[in-house]
């Protein structure tokens, strides 16, 4: 059931929200993000994540800086911008609001 197209659409729509949440906690590297999502129903892959992060950077929601890694070339570490934080707060509120509405409709 969880592989239904409708469920897929919901998960896709929420992915950006989740990224904002994960990035807000700490400066993170793409592998960290993938690790956090792994095993959840939002498990995702680089092929999806990089274009999405790049879009969010263009919208000034996230920013990145280069950091040396122990092995190999430097890595991009992402963090939220002020705009990203504002959007996360809005989304959190909105999410709570939606949940309330759904619960009220169930009663």
């Amino acid at each position: 059931m969880a592989s239904d197209v409708k469920f897929l659409a919901i998960r896709k729509g929420l992915l950006e929200f989740l990224l904002l949440k994960i990035v807000s906690a700490d400066k993170v590297y793409v592998a960290d993000i993938l690790g956090r999502l792994e095993g959840t129903e939002f498990a995702t892959q680089e092929g999806t994540l990089y274009p999405l992060l790049s879009k969010m950077r263009r919208e000034s929601l996230v920013d990145y800086e280069w950091r040396e890694s122990e092995a190999g070339p430097p890595r991009k570490y992402y963090r939220l911008t002020a705009k990203g934080r504002a959007q996360l707060a809005e989304l959190n509120d909105y999410w709570r609001h939606i949940n309330r509405t759904i619960q009220q409709l169930e009663q």
Partner: protein, 382 residues
């Protein structure tokens, strides 16, 4: 025995079997195709390469120094298909690693339409547009046009004027492609669009980024802070104009505005006075020259004088750098205001003009008849 080749994934060098290389190539090609509309396409491809490289590094070591086909298949399956928000045309949704996904055949020619083409135009881009439409050199079309103009004793000038107003201008990249009948999604065009995007949008964004970063560094960043900028993914760097150039542009622009506004008003006044009195401000046309030829000549002279002015103007806009949007807007407002003021002065101080304009406003419906009458008079006189 398998042939081994070397690949360079964002600075890391790997030895791979040939089939592995083909798999990788197919994945990256598919990714590039999915990202053709993404302004950060190059950067994302570099990110993907680096991620593949990281995964590859984990596979190797301890007695293994060649990436095999199975390794690459697993790595690419882990990477997942490249997806953007909007599904690209013909993308296979949910296809596993790009292994078998063949790209659909592309259009080889696009729709063709006649447009005014403003890149390299002489007057309004009519000849240029025709040249693009027929796929010939604009100069040839212009020569033919001039020949026809002479042969038809000027009648083709009217055709030009009509086309100038009737034919739409090719404004978007898509329309410019249609003007030449090129396929819009041809690779070259995509590149062109990307260049354009990099020039206009990204330079504004980068300018902001850089200014903010400079501020951050100045206040509290230590020196070892790495630049976020990644040279190989930002190839279209535009030099930042200096303050001197911007100040000069700020002085030159209003001056140019005054000159160009005066010129426009002069041209309009001359045209109006030509219509009203069959002569320019008291100077009568030589006998045998019909007024519309004089008007065409007037327009041509105006275009000739205006062309270099316009060129300087655009060059000045360039000098303003990425933040030119508002300068250009206010320059336009200033120009309009100057035209209105100059027009008002002209109307009150040039004899005959005020009456003519009033006459125009009073019974504009009679103008076609007036013209017909004038033409009939001319013909009868000739």
């Amino acid at each position: 025995m398998n042939k081994v080749t070397t690949v360079n994934l964002n600075g890391r060098v790997y030895q791979v079997e040939e089939q592995t290389h083909d798999l990788l190539r197919a994945y990256l090609d598919e990714a590039a195709r999915m990202l053709t509309d993404d302004p950060d396409c190059r950067e994302i491809l570099v990110d993907l390469e680096q991620a593949i490289g990281d995964k590859g590094a984990r596979c190797l070591g301890a007695g293994r120094d060649v990436l095999g086909e199975a390794d690459m298949k697993r790595i690419l399956a882990e990477m997942g298909p490249v997806e953007t928000g909007e599904p690209a045309a013909g993308a296979a949704p949910g296809a596993g690693a790009a292994a078998g996904a063949g790209s659909p055949p592309r259009e080889t020619s696009g729709p063709k339409r006649l447009y005014l083409v403003k890149e390299g135009e002489m007057i309004a881009g009519v000849c240029n547009g025709l040249a693009a439409y027929f796929g010939v050199d604009p100069t040839i079309v212009r020569l033919i046009f001039v020949a026809l103009l002479v042969l038809s004793s000027g009648l083709f000038g009217i055709a030009y004027l009509v086309m100038m107003f009737v034919v739409p201008t090719a404004k978007t990249a898509e329309e410019r492609a249609a003007a030449r009948g090129l396929p819009f999604n041809a690779q070259e065009l995509v590149e062109q669009a990307k260049r354009h995007y990099a020039d206009v949008k990204d330079s504004t964004q980068r300018w902001r980024d850089r200014r903010r970063r400079a501020k951050e560094r100045a206040f509290w960043r230590p020196k070892e802070q790495r630049s976020y900028e990644e040279p190989q993914s930002r190839p279209f760097e535009r030099p930042q104009p200096g303050y001197g150039a911007r100040i000069a542009a700020g002085i030159v622009l209003p001056l140019l505005g005054v000159i160009s506004a005066a010129l426009t008003v002069a041209c309009l006044v001359a045209g109006a006075s030509l219509l009203a009195t069959v002569g320019i401000l008291g100077w009568n046309l030589p006998p045998g020259v019909p007024p519309w030829v004089a008007i065409l000549a007037l327009v041509a002279v105006f275009a000739l004088i205006n062309a270099p002015l316009r060129a300087v103007r655009y060059a000045t806009y360039e000098a303003l750098g990425p933040r030119r949007g508002w300068f250009v807007f206010w320059d336009g407002v200033l120009w309009l205001a100057l035209v209105i003021v100059a027009g008002w002065i002209a109307m009150h101080h040039v004899p005959g003009l005020g009456e003519f304009i009033q006459h125009l406003f009073h019974d504009w419906r009679a103008i076609p008849y007036e013209f017909a009458r004038m033409a009939a008079q001319r013909l009868a006189g000739a």
